[in-house]
């Protein structure tokens, strides 16, 4: 197992390097001159040359990339990921500040999804073609087809404008209530609902299909034939095996857990990583943008690794 994990991490290095190269090129090839703000008549050309030298703009492209990426590896140094142009503070520090909000938002919606989607998918599969199944399937299809910004806008209108139950956005009402869990939960409700409805739609479809496949297998018929109760067959025999593919879904949702939901966070002005990244693009905050892309890549690699390891844990037939 340990050798497997180590091998996977080594295999991930070229992928992360590729992500880094693309993120570097994305910013490097963008039109615009990084020294534009200094190119005014009363700045002498020597000063511009000096600035280019300090920032390394006069070096060849590969050398600039290597300089950038070697800085990046030194995560123990708070300045390693550069300074944000907008905030004039270390990027690493800004990211660390916004991570808890995103983890809270995505973690709650993932937990809610698991709690609701598994029973829904199971119900739809056990009572296939019944009314319950039709309702769940219809809900799943519509929820799946609804873009996150449409769903978010609807929920915001219903919850915050029409019924005036929930706040319009943000994470806390005022600085005074900053660490009041009830206040945060109140602000959390709409964005979590918006994210959870979508993932419940996707997950319940998936669980229904997976459960149906298991229910048609021979050992389920055997279990029924030997007189076990329906509950025992459904929960002990079928559900456990139906949940194996769900582990993959879990791993695939981990990147979103870290990178945040860009759109939902923006709609509800949630102070997490997603809205931070989008604002950084709007303000051309290049160090933050590059950090964000790389962070997304790392999250995907970790998510896939976790999914594969968990797959082996829940399915004893898989050996590493």
């Amino acid at each position: 197992m340990l050798t497997y994990i180590i091998r996977r991490i080594i295999l991930a290095i070229p992928i992360l390097l590729g992500v880094a190269i693309i993120s570097f090129l994305l910013v490097y090839l963008a039109p615009g001159d990084p020294l534009a703000q200094f190119r005014v008549p009363n700045v002498r050309p020597e000063v511009l040359d000096r600035l280019a030298e300090i920032y390394g703009f006069n070096k060849p492209l590969p050398e600039q990339f290597i300089g950038w990426i070697t800085n990046y590896v030194q995560v123990w140094n708070p300045d390693a990921w550069g300074l944000s142009i907008t905030y004039r503070r270390p990027v690493l520090e800004l990211i660390a500040e916004r991570t808890p909000a995103t983890l809270l938002l995505m973690g709650s919606s993932l937990a809610l999804t698991i709690i609701i989607a598994i029973p829904l998918g199971m119900l739809a599969a056990v009572r296939q073609y019944s009314w319950a199944d039709k309702i769940v399937t219809t809900f799943a299809t519509i929820g799946y087809a609804m873009p996150s910004f449409v769903l978010g806008t609807f929920l915001l209108y219903i919850g915050a404008i029409w019924f005036r139950i929930f706040p319009f956005g943000g994470m806390t009402s005022s600085l005074r209530t900053e660490s009041d869990p009830l206040d945060i939960a109140w602000h959390l409700a709409l964005p979590v609902a918006s994210l959870a409805i979508q993932s419940i739609a996707g997950w319940s479809r998936y669980i229904r299909a997976s459960m149906l496949e298991v229910l048609h297998q021979d050992y389920i018929r055997t279990a029924k034939a030997k007189g076990l109760s329906a509950n025992r067959v459904n929960f002990r025999h079928a559900l456990r095996n139906a949940l194996i593919p769900v582990v993959t879904l879990f791993g695939l949702s981990l990147p979103a857990l870290i990178a945040g939901a860009v759109i939902t966070e923006t709609i509800f002005s949630w102070p997490g990583l997603g809205s931070f990244g989008v604002n950084a693009i709007g303000q051309r905050d290049y160090p933050v943008i590059m950090a964000f892309v790389l962070l997304g890549g790392i999250a995907v690699v970790i998510g896939n690794l976790v999914a594969d390891i968990m797959y082996g844990v829940v399915d004893p037939r898989i050996k590493y």
């Binding site: 910004f149 759109i263 995907v300």
Partner: protein, 314 residues
Amino acid sequence: MADRTYDDVTQVPVDDTEDIDRTEVRSYWQLARRRFVRHRLAVIGAITLAVLIVAAAVVPLVVENATGVSISKSFAPAEIVDDEGNLVLALLGYSRTGINMFTQLMAATATSLMIGFAAVLIIVFIGVVIGAVAGYAGGWVDNVLMRVVDIALSMPGLFIIIAFVAFWGASIWTIILAIGITGWTTAARLVRAEFLSLREADYVQAARALGASPRRIILRHMLPPALAPIIVAASLGVADSVVLEAALSFLGFGIGAEQASLGTLLNVAFEYLNREPYLVLFPSIVLILIVLAANFLGDGMRDALDPRQRVEQQ
């Protein structure tokens, strides 16, 4: 032997011929069409998409000043022909600034669908080229190309698209390009998988033995059977691309109001959510319709184009 009557042609006892399938032989595409028509939701999806495409293409053309502002019309009710007898098709009435909301919606639908289809063209082109080369060549070429796919899959897609469009200037073409060059991985994987399994097929080996060039083998012998998954992926890709573009415009990084898409309309509507909430409704409905229709169409085509699915005898 008892007195059995035999069929003149086949020499099979007549009472046994009941079992013979007398359905006439039909081509692959005839069978596919028959399977597709059986798929009720897929047919509804195809019709919905067709109606939307036609309406989006025709309505802005037949109505003058389809997206223009005219303050005198502020909050005017729905009408089909205005006071001077011009065709206006203002089925949804006028907005606060006097914009004809139905024609504006159709013009936005046209922009959205245009971007969606154009982006899918790029997605399919890159996906087919990379998938075909990887699957046909195999070995280290396949290995390198699949690592490129892994890298592309590890990038935060929407974020890259936003950054690309923000840096290079928001126009229809940068948006199409951004969606196209980030979205090809699924198509490439499907084509590669199909090509890997076809590569060693007897008829492909035969073509190779007869001296056909790789170009001919790929284009004439391997691409047609790989077409089914490509078509399905393309129809799902239209939905994805339309939604991506709408997300981009919704976040304010898309094309401006001069060529509004459904996302642009939602972006504007979001600002007036408090006072004029109904503005959100129609762009949302059209967007959901496009996604549902394209998904049903894709599902239906997946079943229709799969030769293993049978058509019941009649």
